[in-house]
Amino acid sequence: MTDTARMARARRKEAAAAAPPGRVRRALGTHWYAWTMVAPVVLVIGVIIGYPLVRGLYLSLTDANEANVERNIGMNHIPATYQFTGLENYTEILGDDVFWGRLGWTVLWTVACVTLTFSIGLALANLLNRTLRGRTFYRLALILPWAIPAFVSVFTWRLLYNEKNGLLNKLLAGGGIDAVPWLNDPTWAKLSVIAVNVWLGVPFMLVALLGGLQSIPGELYEAAEMDGANAWQRFRDITLPGLRGVSSTVILLSTIWTFNMFPVIYLLTRGGPGDATEILVTYAYRLSFVDSPRDFAGSAAWGVLILLLLSLIAVVYRRSLRKQGEVW
């Protein structure tokens, strides 16, 4: 080995030894304030989401339930006795009609709610986005459902939906129509929960889309009118493309939120009658907090499946947007 080669190797070694701390220090020097600013979020998310997620994943691979987890009864501490069971929970759930039934209804519920909410929100935003008398009044009135906590509104709807005494049925009776079992018949209950969720969701869509409409330059419409485009053409060729950025975000968010919409279903029907309106989330909640014995492992496995489904939706959705030329 020649001297130069040895020296070169030694230098390389030295450089390799020095590089990592140097690089870390340099990165710290450049980015420390950015990292400090995001640290709280990362920390909180790490502890509150990261740990439970890992733990939930683990629980879903066991047979943990109320009777075999670690617990204290009086003075006695009883250690956990649940066991690792591998993918048994998953095979059981996927082989069971309950899951597929709930999944079908959850998808239907999500698609129906998001479609209706978006269409109504878009229509109203278009109506509001012009000069008309009473615009502020209409806007405030239409946003009102958002200002009221969802659980309060849901209880109000229960009051209205009440089969024997609710206002809706009394009104129908006034028109000579038989009482409708709003929340007590599987089909009606499904329609009722969708209606309430749409009622709750429209204000958010309306506000977001109204903002989107206002950012479309008016000159585009003027030019289109000059070229003889009719109202429908203007809507299709200017409004819809102009709203693309906003709508893609709100549709994705609203899909995720609706898919996991716990309070509306839980407080309106508790998933009933039977399990007609039970979506995946409320069913998983029922497994671990309502049914006895509490099935922690099963509930966790349901949760993991829900998460996988949503990730899939998000990835597919983002990819389809990117294909259309959205950058993100």
């Binding site: 733990r55 459902p145 709100v250 968010l253």
Partner: protein
Amino acid sequence: MAKSSRNRRSPLASAGLHATLLIAAVVAVFPPLWLLITSFKPKNDAFSTELVTHFTFANYRHVIADTQFLTWFGNSLVVVGITTVLGVFVAATTGYAVSRFRFPGMRPLMWLLLITQMFPVAVLIVPLYNLMASLGLLNQPAGLVVTYLTIAVPFCAWMMKGFFDTIPVEIDEAGRVDGLNPFGTFWRLVLPLARPGLAVTGFYTFVTAWAEVAYASAFMTGEENLTLAGGLQTFVNQYVNDWGSMTAAAVIIAVPAGLVFAFAQRHLVAGLTSGTTKG
């Protein structure tokens, strides 16, 4: 465009426009209004379809004097207050960092913020319940506060990023030239300009925490620890059917939310737009 189309709108179209909006407004306003009306009726008239015939404050008196409502209200106020203040601050710093700096870990962080929003309550709630139990945070406001932060902050950080993107970078540069460090620039120059964004973020955090049900019902047990979402469920459930108290309590609950909303709504349209389009 708006002006010309108004000039050309026919009376018929105008009537149709107003009719549609009016119907939508009635549908939106009616349930809360009916709640308000019902709350002033004697308990046994809760389901009568007439307007108030015997006006009474009895429901309110009962709720405030004979139930734990005020305790629940206080619990909620503490939890939501702390959540909002912390949430806005943390969302602002995060939003600023991802808006202004290109740093390693930024893309994963953006993904994290998006993915966190789709975590189902169901997968987290049991482990989180156990975690809270082992930390002694069950029935403690602190437990709910950190949980709510993880729900509200990701979306708020996205919104704040959108806001900061609309504030010219020259302002930061001016701050740097004047010798401010990045925190000083953020705190003294940029944050004041982002006040509408803070209003929207605060509103969103407040409403989210004020209205949360699942974690509140699972983590807070024992009547004196409940927050409002849990407390309200004690009025109407499979055992009792006290719609009178329920309506009065619901009205009181809606008031703070309404106030916060009235304060923030001016900024809402602008806020959500910049947040969602630039996000």
